[in-house]
Symmetry: C2
Subunit: 196 residues, 2 copies
């Protein structure tokens, strides 16, 4: 499996293929199945049923070789497959940067959104191809596929920002993003979503 | 004229239009005419003639409001108009980051290249739409339009990287990039280019 390069690294050209979601040359690639996402969706019974039936891949993250190291600016492409669990859209785990640093997401294909939470106020940025979602330092962030096709975006983030997944488990993300009539519907994080 | 936002800033959605090269919402926009680029091209007589005849805009840089401040990750879109001066392709001034930090360029339209120099070795990354050029910390960088249309790219860079234009004046960029037969031609930085 490809790994991150070890600094100092040379200048490099990186290409990405929206049809596949890969980066060339490739760094690490990770895949999150339903079974990897215990506790993520509010409807535990619906999550368990989805896990036991087909255990589908919910999202994949393909990185370039640019390493997560101080001074570097790594990139990755995330593909969230369409679907919902108990009416709650497929999403990433979400994380906070332990070292507060900004990050950008650039929509490549499909339709989704960027949910941000600073511990007090949730914000929602609708994402589509050509839209940059800006994540200021201090805002936890999660991506959600709100469409019927794979939602794919390019992330660019400082190599020393880090990933704190525990922050989201402790504080939540303010909202849950649910299937609505046409538009996504937002529910307070603690509430059980209505199955859709 | 739009300015950078003042931190702390809220999450925001930013769109960009390849046909115009602008960002919405907009931060600062700068325009470099031939008269702003004294000393950039090797053929001083050709530069002076171009300046005196029409003083064309050689390149423009449109920034989003995300500020050049520690912890932020600003973005800009650069458009280099096609052309050459004494056979040397239109290019940006080029700079080094005084605070060594990586940067990415993403090709949006047209054809160009990213010239990098670490003080010893020049490198050339051909750029086209969908190509990421990775600039590791410590590499000075300049962009060049090698085609017949505007060459446009998105830059994403850490807000505290800074811009040192003097480094390039002192050390050069290793190569000059000249019109060749089909492909660009590279000449040692000190040499006079052959008019093309």
């Amino acid at each position: 499996m490809p790994e991150f390069a070890v600094p100092p690294i040379d200048p490099m050209s990186i290409t990405f293929q929206p049809p596949t979601g890969g980066m060339t040359p490739s760094g690490p690639v990770l895949s999150r199945r339903m079974s990897d996402l215990e506790g993520l969706f509010a409807d535990t019974a619906a999550w368990r049923a989805a896990r036991d039936e087909a255990d589908p891949v919910v999202y994949e993250v393909a990185s370039s070789p640019v390493p997560e190291a101080p001074g570097e600016l790594p990139q990755s492409i995330t593909t969230i497959h369409p679907g919902a669990v108990g009416g709650e859209f497929h999403m990433t785990k979400g994380h906070q940067h332990p070292n507060p640093q900004g990050e950008i997401y650039l929509g490549l294909s499909g339709t989704g959104g960027l949910l941000l939470f600073d511990g007090t106020t949730p914000k929602w940025i609708p994402m589509a191809p050509g839209v940059i979602g800006y994540i200021p330092p201090g805002w936890a962030h999660r991506s959600v596929n709100t469409g019927d096709e794979p939602y794919r975006f390019l992330a660019v983030y400082p190599g020393d920002a880090g990933h704190d997944y525990g922050w989201v488990l402790e504080h939540g993300m303010g909202w849950r993003v649910l299937r609505g009539a046409g538009e996504p519907r937002f529910a307070p994080f603690q509430a059980e979503p209505v199955a859709g």
